[in-house]
Amino acid sequence: MKIDRRKFLNSLLGIGGIGGIISVFYPIISYLIPPKTTEPKVSSIKAGLSAEFPTNSSKIIKFGRQPVILIKTEDNEYKALAATCTHLDCIVQYKNDTKQIWCACHNGIFDLNGRNISGPPPRPLEEYEVKIVKDEIVITKAG
């Protein structure tokens, strides 16, 4: 009888203890995870005048909070791709000598369609649509 009472009290203490620990750690862990900030939805942006953009060059454009690389190829074609490397998050650059997209961090290389052709990147860069509206470059998210 005595033992039973002790057992009972011990398990009560145990359950209470676990509850206490959870009620301390649950808020702390939740606090550590940052709240989701609602991004303003950007579906298209203007990226300057086509006439002012030199052939065989590139620039990085802010697409909302995402960096997008806009390239004017040798044949004056436009390409817009997510500039965030699919490997480990670095920002890529256009090499105007090799006509490829290069990531300095681990030597990842993409072609002008964003396909990962060598190095560690596991996936292609996401493509954006480029239109010229009255000589102005307009980039829109595909799909």
Binding site: I33, C85, D89, I91, Q93, A104, N107, P122
Partner: protein, 360 residues
């Protein structure tokens, strides 16, 4: 006169708190003297450099202001406007590097002299944790000036964490304080660097030193088997302590030399919309991991290259931490102990990967 006052104070304290144990300790603590005694100084130097970090870190705190719009500017202010600010920052940066270096040397010297064996298992484990914390100090401190190199190093370093299944993504969010590396990341790294890590580090440091004090210095096999009268010792006070001090002064001079003649660069301010600069490299002590990841193909078996790499490194680190508890039988006819061989391979791997990383 002064001596008189000193001994009066001592006897005043003695009467109340009994200094006998302390006096005994000072009188009897001794250190084995043999061919490999030089390695006994590596831990002490590491400790010294930690104190340098503590002091210079606290000084930097007086002017440093975390934040996307103030961190870089405040470090520039420290090195250009504050009297001797450049010196304090250079010493903090160089000392961080020497600290990591000596921590590695200390660890491998302990490893190869087999000092981690019973009864010093926990000294090894706490020491390894201190090394990991030191690397965390280095990684978190590196971001604080908010320059280009630091920005991308942090992007890559935290993105790797995200590769781990299940816990990776939430962990990455917790580290970054959001999806991307931003001012929120900087705030977190600042808190980690100047509050969380020093607190945790102190706990393990005290444990580490306490274990060492309890057990005394490890004696190598050869020394232990000598007849008692052939074993040579030197007293800790004052002989060993003075030698320790001498070594600290030497390292301190090297440190000041480096800080004076090789100023730590500040570079360009971080820009979230600029490509990663050409020739970007991590700190040298992460180079072997960085370069290994670089060499891995995009996919190995069914998983991404990084995941494979990070799992291997993770498992290797845990095994390395638990080395005192691992027994491998020595095969007949083997000239070398298997663990020693493993250690040599580890050092070789780290050295080769580091060198190749800098050459290509």
């Amino acid at each position: 006169m002064i001596k008189n006052i000193g001994s009066k104070i001592a006897s005043w304290i003695d009467e109340r708190y009994n200094l006998e144990p302390l006096r005994n300790l000072i009188k009897h603590k001794k250190v084995p003297a043999h061919r490999y005694s030089i390695w006994y100084y590596m831990g002490g130097v590491t400790l010294f450099l930690f104190f340098v970090q503590l002091l210079t870190g606290i000084l930097l705190l007086l002017y440093y202001r975390p934040g996307e719009d103030s961190a870089y500017e405040s470090v520039r202010f420290i090195v250009t406007e504050v009297k001797f600010g450049w010196l304090i920052r250079n010493v903090h940066s160089w000392s961080a590097n020497l600290l990591v270096l000596f921590a590695f040397i200390h660890m491998f010297s302990v490893f190869f002299s087999k000092a981690y064996k019973k009864p010093r298992e926990l000294t090894w484990v706490t020491g390894f944790i201190l090394l990991v914390l030191t690397l965390a100090f280095g990684f978190s401190g590196y971001l604080l000036p908010w320059n280009e190199l630091a920005f991308f190093a942090t992007k890559v370093g935290t993105d790797i964490v995200g590769v781990v299944p299940i816990i990776g993504e939430p962990l990455k969010m917790i580290l970054r304080g959001g999806e991307d590396v931003t001012g929120a990341t900087l705030s977190r790294f600042f808190g980690i660097h100047v509050a969380i890590l020093p607190a945790i580090f102190t706990v393990f440091l005290v444990a580490h030193l306490f274990f060492i004090q309890q057990q005394g210095m490890h004696e190598p096999e050869k020394f232990k088997n000598l007849p008692e009268n052939k074993k040579k010792y030197i007293p800790f006070f004052p002989d060993f302590a003075l030698k320790d001090l001498l070594f600290w002064v030497v390292v301190f001079n090297i440190l000041i030399f480096l800080a004076l003649y090789f100023p730590w660069e500040l570079g360009n301010k971080a820009d979230a919309f600029a490509p990663a600069p050409e020739g970007i490299k991590p700190e040298w002590y992460f180079m072997f991991m960085f370069h290994t990841l670089k060499l891995l193909p995009a996919h190995i078996l069914f998983i991404e290259g990084e995941l494979f790499g990070i799992l291997i490194f993770g498992v290797a680190a845990v095994i390395w931490m638990l080395i005192p508890f691992i027994k491998i039988k020595q095969k007949h006819g083997w000239k070398i102990q298997p663990l020693t061989l493993i250690g040599i391979l580890v050092v070789f791997f780290i050295a080769v990967m580091t060198i190749i990383g800098y050459l290509v």
